[in-house]
Symmetry: C2
Subunit: 301 residues, 2 copies
């Protein structure tokens, strides 16, 4: 079994109950790593940790599948919430960190601007529908937190409405946790300068032109407002039940390594095991041996 | 761009309109490969092809996202249907072949025995609900074909019912195809002997004991009946609109390589491209340059 440093990293990156002074967190910093632990080290490490993450995911899946109906293990699931400004690497994190797991046990949902149908419902309706099933790892690429981010910055709803959402979110998340969902929330903390460079790189690559959206530039002009909105949700919604982590995201290799460690540490806390057989192994063995010789039917190798 | 040999392989593995004599297909054979192209070659090749598959998937996603509403491209999606006896490697194929793609563009569903709710509905109800969205690649690990496999072998419904399902399936699949779904159906063709060995390997590995199911052994005793049931569905449901391929599956590396080639060839037939920008690139560039210097707000790197 590969040991991660996830527990320490959680302490280093956790947004405390009082929140985080975002301006004091350098998006190019690399908390938890020594000077020698650079890009190559982190990539190799993430690759190892990814295999362990896949193992944890399999144990989660197996446990839920074999657990007694109604038991805690039968309801257990994990939810990773990713938030961050445009170009902060939510998509890349899904591809490289989440991509290390088995697709069969994943439920990944990207949330764009709400559809008309979604706008008619409570803001938690669409995310509730996208929750992972028991035994699955769910991933939200953007989430209900947009409803206290763009909704606040762009005044899509009155202030009294978005102000009330922090408590609504905390209440909902604590119900999920009580229902067996383990929640990890990650803010990918990008610098304005790095966003500029990534947008310029998109412009330079025709294969990425489809990603260009004029709203990217509009939201950029509200950078300070967004940082404020992030600071408040980190202060209000980083609960013990569902903590927020701030991951410096200017370096992609750091971001991928750190999110892998956070997710892995979270899974490890569940104390997962491969469940024992639900059948009598000796009897299964005997029956298998008894049928091993069948050898004349159609389609035999 | 990496050239695959998918087109040739499709010809080699395709179940013709008249079906396939399964007994004549050696599950250890490796159609399409020379004697020199063995395990190592196939693994390296699959890894290269996997990157190309991910690129195709991204173009599919991008095309659907940027296409004019109601256009053909806006509805386009791909569905991979995997069938095969227990231990034939449906799960391994999902992990290694499908796992090469980006989880955000995937919808993978494993179908077990129908729930009570599902049994009350038409047999196509649950699969219809699991179809990929536009721009996604969907994967069925088992499928509606169980309704002419176990349902037939175990007489879960009267013969007149399952006999009618071949036409129902063809009709439904042709409607899907007309609606923009490209369907690839793969039967993983395993030998009885290899299944014996894989079940024995499961028994020997406590981390795999949770997978043991007494029904695995029960179904084994009906091996010949299942081969017959497969032969009939291959004969009845391998249409030009939604062809079946029979992939020899005793060698895992062959199976993974072959399914990757089949899926990739299918994607390539769609003639996907990265769509052009939906914005004025020069104008975007100008606005980006104009905002590049903003540099004193909070949270800046």
């Amino acid at each position: 079994m590969i040991e991660g440093m996830g527990a320490d990293l959680r302490r280093l990156l956790r947004a405390g109950p009082g929140g985080v002074e975002l301006a004091a967190v350098d998006p190019r910093s690399r908390p938890g790593l020594t000077a020698e632990q650079g890009k190559q080290w982190a990539r190799e490490r993430r690759s190892e940790l990814g295999r362990e993450l896949a193992r944890q995911q399999e144990m989660l899946f197996a446990s839920a599948k074999t657990a007694a109906p109604g038991s805690a293990a039968a309801r257990r699931r994990v939810l990773l919430v990713l938030q961050g400004m445009d170009c902060s690497g939510k998509g890349g994190t899904v591809r490289r960190v989440v991509g290390a797991m088995n697709p069969i046990g994943l439920r990944v949902t990207a949330f764009g601007p709400p559809t008309e149908q979604e706008r008619e419902r409570h803001f938690l309706w669409r995310v509730a529908r996208a929750l992972p099933s028991a035994g699955q790892v769910g991933v939200f690429d953007r989430s209900h937190y947009e409803d206290v981010l763009i909704a606040r910055v762009r005044q899509l709803v009155p202030e009294s409405v978005w102000r009330g959402r922090y408590d609504e979110i905390n209440q909902w998340e604590s119900e999920l946790v009580a229902g067996g969902v383990t929640i990890v929330k990650v803010m990918l903390h990008l610098s304005y300068r790095e966003q500029t460079e990534r947008l310029a790189a998109r412009l330079a690559n025709p294969a990425k032109h489809w990603k260009l959206d004029p709203s990217d530039l509009d939201e950029r002009t509200r950078w300070g407002d967004y940082q404020e909105a992030y600071a408040e949700l980190l202060a209000r919604c980083s609960t013990d039940a569902a903590p927020w982590y701030v991951v410096p995201a200017d370096r992609k290799w750091y971001r991928d390594w750190a999110v892998t460690e956070l997710l892995l540490a979270t899974c490890r806390d569940l104390g997962l095991r491969y469940p024992p057989a639900t059948v009598d192994v000796a009897e299964f063995q005997r029956r298998l041996a008894a049928t091993a010789q069948w050898g004349t039917g159609p389609g035999k190798g």
